[in-house]
Amino acid sequence: MHEKPLTISFPPHSFLEYMEPRLKIVALLWWVILVVSVSTGDPHQLGYFGLSAGLLLLLNHRLLGKFLMRWLPSVLMILPLCIFLLFLQQGRTLVQFGPFTITEQGWTIALHLFSTALLCMAGVALCWASSSEADLLCALQGLGMPRPLVAVFGFMLRYLHVLRPELHRLSDARLARQIGHHTPGALRIPAQLIGALFLRSHQRAEHVAEAMAARGHDGQWRNLIHYHWHGRDLLALLLFFSITLIIRWI
């Protein structure tokens, strides 16, 4: 009888999911270095990098939902910082809103920073969307990252998992008691929710850490899936290196 394998956590849908996680992390580092090395006055190059990221995503279109879930929050985090930067630079005035001035220099720097950060985060999100977290942690460990750092990453990821269900529970409890429309003091509620969420998820994360310790977790990440480097992985990596190098030095 054919026995269902236990070692595949999810059926891979795209070639990125089949790739060895360690190679994906190497490719991600390469991507970040190249993107960050683009000079401020060269927006076209960032555009080409954006196009190549889009193409990669198109080839792995099944990951789109997972990718967006991981990428879009980073947009929300980066945007306010870039808006702030718009007004900080001196130079030729582009637009003026009362006492606030957007200069040409400010616009260029903010746009560059925004695009660079988005491209780097796109790489991270694509890597994260195509691998399970346990794989990524084992891959980081396999690449020689110090154990405490891997543990910190691991607990950060666990914390994210803990945060979402706690947020759902708290929102449900709030909605269940919220009769009618918003009251004048309604703005206070989300603030209280965030405080409670932090405490609750911290407590939950401690319980999870206890459960891990009870089953022998010693800070080292071990995984059910053991990946091996295949020829096709190396070929894909070489192809990726070549394309990104051509874009960078075009």
């Binding site: 269902k4 956590s9 999870v208 459960a211 891990m212 009870a214 089953r215 010693d218 071990r222």
Partner: protein
């Protein structure tokens, strides 16, 4: 007159003069002495806040007491023996959500054996066996967070069974279960031939499963006797904010039967 053979092996579990105070000053344990022999199944009962969960967490070093001793299978709990003691004592948490943190059920069940340093073939074998034992063989690829409460409890038990512990410590194993899953859990626990310490408010479970009952009150063991003696004494139970098991109150449809001996 024939006598039972003398068992010279050390008890499965021995607690001596165990005290524990939380950082906020709450004194949860006040001198607990308890000995559990190999193969025994003991129910730990008591009102909320009596120290049951704190006591259980001492058994595999999740909480460490500066006063008193915890000895598991002849091995005293210390920093150097922690790994071995955690291998011997399997802890099933009250909330299965705390215990299930991997992307799939199979990975969760494999977590313990992988951390025991077992070879991959053995790990996979144990995962299959544990899932089969709890009846979740078909759930290996499922996301734990999307299981029902009953399935989660069984999966949580499988994560511990895969480590093949010599002592099974369970904190409220039937607290969130419907009657069907509760029955499955009880039958399952009955079929597992290892020493068990079960903290529970479900006195029917204690009556059905455990020949010995320990009552904890304000961090002290106030009663330690046979289930038939303690759980049938309404006055005594009331004294410790407990009630007779439903079976003994005549509320259950099934006829009253003696506890398992």
């Amino acid at each position: 007159m024939s006598t039972a053979p003398i068992d010279h092996s050390p008890p499965a579990l021995r607690l001596e003069e165990l005290y524990f105070t939380y950082p906020d000053g709450v004194q949860a344990l006040r001198g607990v002495d308890l000995t559990i022999h190999k193969g025994e199944r003991v129910a730990l009962i008591g009102a909320n806040g009596s120290g049951k969960s704190t006591l259980l967490k001492q058994l595999n070093g999740l909480l460490r007491s500066p006063h008193g001793r915890v000895v598991v299978g002849g091995l005293e709990l210390s920093t150097s023996s922690l790994t071995e003691i955690r291998r011997q004592v399997g802890f099933v948490f009250q909330d299965a959500n705390d215990q299930l943190f991997c992307p799939t059920v199979a990975e969760d069940v494999a977590f313990g054996p992988l951390h025991l340093g077992l070879p991959m073939r053995e790990v996979l074998q144990r995962v299959r066996c544990a899932l089969e034992q709890v009846g979740l063989s078909e759930f290996s690829h499922r996301v734990p967070q999307r299981l029902s409460a009953g399935e989660k409890s069984l999966a949580a038990l499988a994560t511990v069974l895969a480590c093949q512990p010599e002592i099974l410590v369970l904190d409220e194993p039937t607290a969130t279960l419907d009657p069907y899953h509760r029955r499955r859990m009880i039958d399952l626990l009955r079929s597992i031939p290892v020493t068990q310490l079960i903290a529970t408010h479900d006195l029917d479970l204690a009556w059905e499963l455990c020949p010995r009952v320990v009552i904890l009150r304000q961090g002290r063991i106030v009663q330690d006797n046979s289930a038939s003696l303690l759980l049938s004494n309404a006055e005594l139970l009331k004294q410790y904010q407990l009630e007779l098991p439903l079976q003994l109150q005549g509320l259950a449809s099934s006829p009253i039967s003696d506890p398992v001996t």
